[in-house]
């Protein structure tokens, strides 16, 4: 296949790459899909972690360096990959999660699928910070609609202006701890709605199964009832015969010709350690915001001295992640509860979108609340500090003997937690760049991160802590742990830790201050596109995946049309 020229080369098989592959192959184009990790299908028993019991693992599901979210988490990858380092400048503590598998990080994400709203595309108009997107909600809405129907998402139409309605599947009923939260939130006039997540609570086609409520979406679904790029997009695309899949293939650079246009990519086959080239008319980067930026920066040539697409010096700039903070409470009313199967879908069934006006607050941009708790499956860590809640009952903490069994039983599932996920303000000075001296095991220069939170995010985290305390107490909870203060940035997660990094190749009208146009097309090379979250101008207080999917579809339609018109 080395001499074959593809119509399209897609680099990366996560949400953006999967959607581009699916759409462009369906448009009749030949596609090479290049993925740095291996093939993956959770339906294959040798790759299935779903429905395994804890004792099937010698560490009972504990995390490892290679599975930071636990032994049974589906994502092959993590913060710390063998032979693929990244570095930090100064006291930066950026955490960079990379998936190395077909489907990338869509194999383990929370499936929280929120449309950006009209305000989210025009934040500068509201608070004067950052930049507006060159497009608005009305441009993306038709694609959100199509993504809803193609992939499936449950939720409810609430008529909220900035949390738009969609083509939803019906929601799962709330669990008991969620009913406590609903009552608590209503006491405080905080809205609460069914969550919006891409699990199939109802059939959408004959290829994918319907959720059987094991609560283990993070392990990837063997009946393909949750969305991952591989199960919902790439397998169907592969069946169409237009796609060649290259796994274990690490793209080093985009190759350009004397005119500055791309002619293909070079990649290292991780199996034989040799370098190869692929020829293509169009290169679509979807390697993740930071990895695509890295590939562009490493694609230096006479025509692109600072790296491909980087005449503006903006590749890697405006890197930003969601803000995050969390808190938990002991819910005495759930002590000694009846035990039944409440696994439900993976994660929350209810949530609270941003409900306040920033004009009255000391920070810009909002956050949403994710609700946790319930009678989860014991795995490593279960039973640690088994009777710590005794201190609230006037009983002694500690001890030994069969009485511990009663403690375990008494406190099982008597917990309510909230995690906040919010919008940060993109900063020119938060960026990734090539480290001048460090390379990975393939000899490719690695990324170095520069990132500091500003008072915007820190003040927002302070507000998150106050909100969580009030809501947990209103729900009947006794707060656990100390409330983090200013010395800990109010519990604000490290940048990158929420794994929503975006913005490194932002779109815009002005080639001097942006990297791509509204379709992810590089200003500097019209046959190179970015369809991951790198093009995001701002993050919104929403999880990015649904918008990646919608924008990748929109870019794919544009690519197919432009090729038909022979413009590219």
């Amino acid at each position: 296949m080395a001499d074959k020229e593809y119509d399209i080369i897609v680099v990366g098989s996560g949400a953006g790459g999967g959607m581009a592959t699916y759409q462009l192959a369906n448009a009749g184009l030949t596609v090479a899909l290049v993925e740095a990790g291996g093939f993956y299908d959770p339906a294959a028993d040798e790759q299935r972690t779903q429905l395994r019991n804890p004792w099937e693992s010698p560490r009972r599901g504990a995390s490892t360096r290679r599975r930071p979210f636990g032994d049974y988490n589906a994502c092959i990858g993590g913060w710390d990959l063998d032979g693929e380092p990244y570095t930090q400048k100064g006291d930066t503590e950026f955490m960079w999660w990379r998936g190395r598998m077909l489907g990338g990080r869509t194999n383990h994400w929370g499936r929280i699928s929120l449309r950006f709203g009209p305000l989210d595309f025009k934040r500068r108009d509201i608070d004067g910070l950052g930049e507006n997107w060159p497009i608005g909600y009305e441009d993306v809405k038709p694609y959100y609609d199509k993504v809803d129907k193609l992939i499936g998402v449950f939720g409810s139409n609430e008529g909220l202006y900035n949390d738009p309605d969609g083509f939803f599947l019906p929601a799962p009923k709330p669990r008991l701890h969620e009913l406590y939260y609903i009552d608590g939130a209503r006491k405080l006039n905080v809205p609460v709605y069914p969550a919006r997540k891409s699990m199939l609570t109802k059939r959408i086609n004959d290829q994918r199964g319907v959720c059987y409520y094991c609560g283990q979406c993070s392990r990837a679904c063997s009946i393909h009832a949750d969305f991952s790029s591989s199960t919902a997009l790439i397998y169907p695309a592969l069946r169409g015969g237009k796609v060649d899949l290259y796994t274990d293939s690490m793209v080093r650079e985009v190759i350009t010709d004397a005119s500055g246009k791309a002619t293909g990519v070079s990649y290292i086959n991780k199996k034989d350690k040799k370098e190869y080239a692929l020829k293509g008319r169009i290169v679509v980067l979807a390697a993740s915001a930071c990895s695509s930026a890295r590939i562009l920066l490493n694609s230096k040539s006479a025509q692109h001295e600072n790296g491909l697409g980087n005449s503006s010096g903006h590749v890697g700039r405006y890197l930003h992640d969601s803000t995050g903070a969390s808190r938990a409470a002991f819910l005495p009313e759930l002590m000694n509860r009846d035990i039944y199967n409440e696994d439900g879908v993976g994660g929350m069934h209810v949530y609270t979108p941003w409900w306040l006006e920033n004009a009255a607050l000391d920070f810009p941009r909002g956050y949403h609340l994710e609700i946790g708790g319930g009678m989860g499956m014991p795995s490593y860590g279960f039973g640690f500090a088994a009777n710590q809640y005794n201190e609230y009952l006037g009983k002694r903490v500690g001890g030994y003997g069969n009485g511990l069994r009663d403690d375990i039983r008494r406190f099982y599932g008597a917990r309510l937690s909230i995690a906040c996920r919010g919008e940060s303000v993109p900063q020119f000075d938060n960026y990734c760049e090539l480290d001048p001296t460090v390379v990975d095991e393939w000899g490719i220069p690695v990324l170095r991160f520069n990132y500091q939170w500003t008072d915007y995010e820190i003040n927002q985290a302070k507000h998150m802590q106050d909100s969580m305390e009030a809501l947990l107490e209103a729900s009947g909870g006794i707060l656990l742990g100390d409330k983090p203060g200013v010395e800990r940035n109010y519990g604000l997660a490290k940048p990158g830790e929420i794994i929503h990094e975006v913005g490194t190749t932002r779109m815009g009208l002005d080639p001097k201050t942006s990297v791509t146009n509204e379709f992810g097309q590089l200003h500097d090379a019209n046959n190179v596109f970015v369809v991951d979250a790198g093009t995001f101008v701002s993050q919104a207080d929403k999880n990015p995946t649904w918008t990646i999917l919608a924008l990748s579809w929109r870019a794919s339609d544009y690519i197919a049309e432009q090729m038909k018109q022979q413009n590219i």
């Binding site: 040798e46 790759q47 972690t49 429905l51 019991n53 804890p54 004792w55 693992s57 010698p58 560490r59 009972r60 599901g61 504990a62 490892t64 290679r66 092959i76 409810s156 139409n157 969609g166 083509f167 939803f168 599947l169 019906p170 929601a171 799962p172 009923k173 709330p174 008991l176 009913l179 406590y180 109802k202 059939r203 959408i204 409520y213 094991c214 609560g215 509860r337 009846d338 035990i339 039944y340 199967n341 409440e342 696994d343 439900g344 499956m377 014991p378 490593y380 279960f382 039973g383 500090a385 088994a386 903490v397 500690g398 001890g399 030994y400 003997g401 511990l404 069994r405 375990i408 039983r409």
Partner: protein
């Protein structure tokens, strides 16, 4: 339970433990690989269910290699492992219908975790040594060679984190670690699932909190919310919507 009855209880338990040596260990899942571990250093033989050393749980090649390396390594000396076994047995005793720490193979689990998580090695090794030092100072014998009453007296001194005695803090930290390891190692086995009454991790249809549970907690589903929820009798009917985003199937 008073202290004296606790001791009496434990002595009876030790008798039960002896009986266990002759009978198949409870817990079919683990017993399939069960065999005895008899320590010459311990006055009373201690045995536990041996855990498998081969696992198949969807690992990558490097993960398989890592597990194999861990199983090839031996960390605890025999005396240390037996001390851990005796301590685990006190923390979660065997005289229970759902078995205890030894039936759940706790010593093997602690051995594995110590190797898997480097930061456990020193606290566990040092903790066992502290326990022996304390036992020798007070009773003239190492922990496993002390009488059961003496062993329990030591545990009473270090089992409660609210004890302020500075000299006991290393022992209290060690005991807390061992209690954590014992409970997590037990409740992540089939025996622990049974003990807890855990019923999840299986395909099923979630259709809300059972009515009697709602009533007990004074909760109800409000009618408006329920209109947004899935009708499980129609879950297999392919979704279709009208142009107004209403689900019509």
């Amino acid at each position: 339970m008073s202290e004296s009855s606790e001791i009496k209880h434990s002595i009876e338990r030790r008798d039960v433990l002896k009986a266990l040596m002759l009978a198949p260990v409870a817990g079919a899942m683990l017993a399939s690989t069960g065999c005895a571990w008899v320590s010459e250093s311990n006055k009373q033989p201690t045995r536990w269910t041996r855990l498998p050393t081969q696992y198949s749980y969807a690992r990558t090649d490097v993960e398989k290699q890592r597990d194999a390396e861990l199983f090839a390594e031996t960390f605890f000396r025999e005396h240390e492992l037996v001390t851990i076994a005796v301590l685990c047995d006190i923390i979660l005793p065997s005289d229970h219908e759902n078995g205890g720490a030894l039936a759940a193979g706790l010593p093997d689990f602690v051995e594995f975790m110590a190797k898997d998580r480097e930061h456990y090695k020193l606290p566990l090794r040092g903790g066992v040594a502290w326990l022996d030092n304390y036992s020798l100072d007070n009773f003239g014998a190492r922990f496993v060679e002390a009488d059961i009453e003496q062993q329990l007296a030591i545990c009473d001194a270090i089992a409660y984190p609210d004890v302020q005695d500075e000299a006991l803090q290393p022992g209290i930290a060690f005991f807390s670690l061992m209690r954590n390891m014992t409970l997590t190692g037990y409740y992540t086995t089939e025996l622990g699932f049974r003990d807890l009454g855990y019923v999840g991790n299986t395909p099923n249809i979630w259709d809300g909190v059972p009515d009697e549970v709602l009533a007990r907690h004074g909760k109800t589903y409000d009618a408006e919310w329920l209109t947004k929820c899935v009708d499980q009798s129609r879950r297999n009917i392919t979704a279709e919507w009208d142009d107004e985003m209403n689900l019509i199937t």
